[in-house]
Symmetry: C2
């Protein structure tokens, strides 16, 4: 096994009506907060009123930053930092999905920093001090509620970069599966695929390949996400399915899958960030299209065969790798994924430029050795009509 560091200081409150603990838990973080949330749904579902009354009950004052959209923008982060500073908040409450939580993390990191918060995302600076963060999760997928990663889109550059820092773990995350009942089948599926991809990418790129508990844990996560997602898109208010999906997606990128197997590598994520950064498509959907394309390009990869053997229980030697790819495609079809970039409306003439942008991100992530620019272009063309 490879050496590793494991640190996961977020307190998780998971289950029915865990929101009732908001007053107790948030009072520990301070008396004044910045409350970050998304678009209309928080009002439609009644969550805004619920959280508002709990904050009032706790005697916590707040200022609001609403309207954060998926593929969250740097401009929103900067606005948040300004509001937070003006009101001298003591902590940040994020109520939403990955985009809202990632925005909260970016504000947390930028609050005490004199320079441009984007410096952190370009690895030009590191956040020495951060504001505490609490999260209330409303969609499962990114795992941001249980890790120290933030992904933000630069408004002008249209690029999506990520930041990871030891002091960006939420202090407390409220995981109440019922809050995801109103997420439609499309975003339920995109979230599931994002979580799956967090494990799949590590599984296929891991340096330590002997059997160990971490490998088995990854296999279990992928199996659970695949099976649960298929049932869930047809049964959106099933508590146990929502709960299993929520906990799987939180665990998928919390650091456990990294223990003992070498460096985290997220090749397909890096490429996808280029696509969703530029065209504002759902991240999970972009990942699905790219992953299928990657499989078709990497049929000889022994890790891919191992994946089909262990996760799909397929005898690859006997039935062939194509059979595995077909089963994987069947899963995507059951999630009603769009088939390719063309159907998503991405212009074909942009592909070369997209490949170059993606290659730049790979360099920032120090993953440029895993694919050549030519292979990258070929992958994007494969995904265009594939």
């Amino acid at each position: 096994m490879k050496d590793f560091e494991f640190f996961l200081p977020t307190k998780v409150l998971f289950g029915k009506d865990v929101l009732k603990n908001i007053p107790r838990e948030l009072s520990r973080l301070g008396k004044r907060c910045l409350w970050v949330f998304g678009k209309a749904s928080i009002h439609k579902t009644g969550l805004y009123d619920k959280v508002k009354s709990l904050l009032q009950k706790a005697g916590i004052e707040w200022v609001e930053l609403g309207g954060i959209k998926s593929n969250p923008l740097l401009s929103g982060v900067k606005k948040g930092i300004e509001i937070a500073r003006k009101n001298q908040v003591e902590f940040i409450l994020a109520t939403g999905g990955g985009s809202v939580i990632d925005t909260a993390k970016a504000i947390s990191a930028g609050y005490f920093y004199d320079g441009d918060v984007w410096d952190f995302y370009e690895k030009k600076a590191y956040p020495k001090k951060t504001l505490p963060i609490a999260t209330v999760l409303t969609i499962a997928g990114t795992g941001s509620e249980l890790n120290n990663i933030s992904v933000i889109v630069h408004d002008e550059k249209k690029i999506k970069f990520s930041l990871r820092a030891h002091n960006l773990f939420p202090r407390v995350s409220f995981l109440q599966p019922e809050l995801t009942f109103t997420v439609g089948p499309d975003y339920t599926a995109y979230g599931a695929f994002d979580a799956f991809s967090h494990v799949f990418e590590v599984f296929i790129s891991r340096e330590y390949s002997k059997d160990c508990i971490t490998t088995d844990f990854m296999i279990s996560l992928m199996k659970n996400i695949i099976k649960t997602s298929q049932k869930l898109v047809k049964d959106l208010k099933n508590y146990d399915l929502r709960a299993n999906m929520m906990w799987c997606s939180s665990l998928a990128l919390c650091g456990l899958t990294k223990t003992g197997i070498g460096a985290y590598k997220f090749l397909i994520h890096a490429i996808e960030h280029t696509i969703s950064g530029a065209y504002d498509i759902p991240h999970g959907l972009g990942l699905g299209i790219l992953t299928l394309g990657w499989m078709k390009q990497n049929k000889e990869n022994p890790r891919l065969a191992e994946f089909f053997e262990k996760v799909f229980d397929l005898d690859v030697k006997k039935r062939g790798i194509e059979e595995g790819i077909k089963e994987f495609e069947n899963w995507l079809n059951s999630l009603r994924f769009t088939k390719n970039f063309k159907d998503l409306g991405i212009p074909k003439q942009d592909l070369d430029k997209l490949a170059e942008n993606a290659f730049y991100i790979l360099k920032v992530w120090k993953a440029e050795k895993d694919i050549s620019l030519e292979q990258l272009k070929a992958l994007l063309y494969q995904c265009y009509e594939g």
Copy 2:
């Protein structure tokens, strides 16, 4: 899924030569520490000198509490509290296995408490404030390095009680698998069985029985521990086996196996604490004998069938539960476990009294509904010559 809280704030440094980080990590905890360790082995292996020079390098002063034995005594804890207070230490460094770490936790809890530290173990008081703890693990098994549990034996009463508190997680744990190379096949096996038992007991008593990630995670842990232990007792210096065993045993009782499946229940552990508290036998060995006895008494338990199906890949309907129990016994034989209490030298006339003591612990643990006193007696007699 059931509601749960998950909190695991220990920082883990795992791998080859992680001890080199002792100066950096311990300096964060303070300038003066109580260093707790076990008997002769720390000197024989050179670990004492290694840690000593690292403490000196960090400019950390220390006072020592050595000689802690397995089934650690309350008297050692009290001595530690006295030394710690007299020297006004700022944190505790535990270098050893579960007994040493559990002693450190007890001292940590007792340091700021005016009453008798045993009050915590009898649930008459709760530790409000504790000293920070760092651990260097030298034997895998108890999982104490990654949880907030401490188990201590009362010298006069000869009973073993446990304490769990939110502020007793080690701040940092150094897991260097090579430090366990010198552990003999016997204690390697006892440690492995202890770790296995932490998962098995939860698996058979869990309230939520549908498939979910937690169940799969438990199955993976048990499979890994069984397979790895069989190889390990014949290959004691195999790094990958030692590493997998160490990480499995840390994960086995870190709280992850509890997520979503209901209350933790440790019936066999509660009973075994009575035995090893009274006769100072190895905890893991006592667990092995009792678990086999419990299986023979609970052949109709559907969870036991599920265990054999999922962990031993046995078709129980076709081959019968006895076949599973036989395979389980084969595993214990491969670990060279003593067969029964008689061979361990436990007097037969003590069994009734032991059963009564065990029943008392079950009441303290609020688990007395899971077995009657008569069943408990029958179990101990079963294990006497079984």
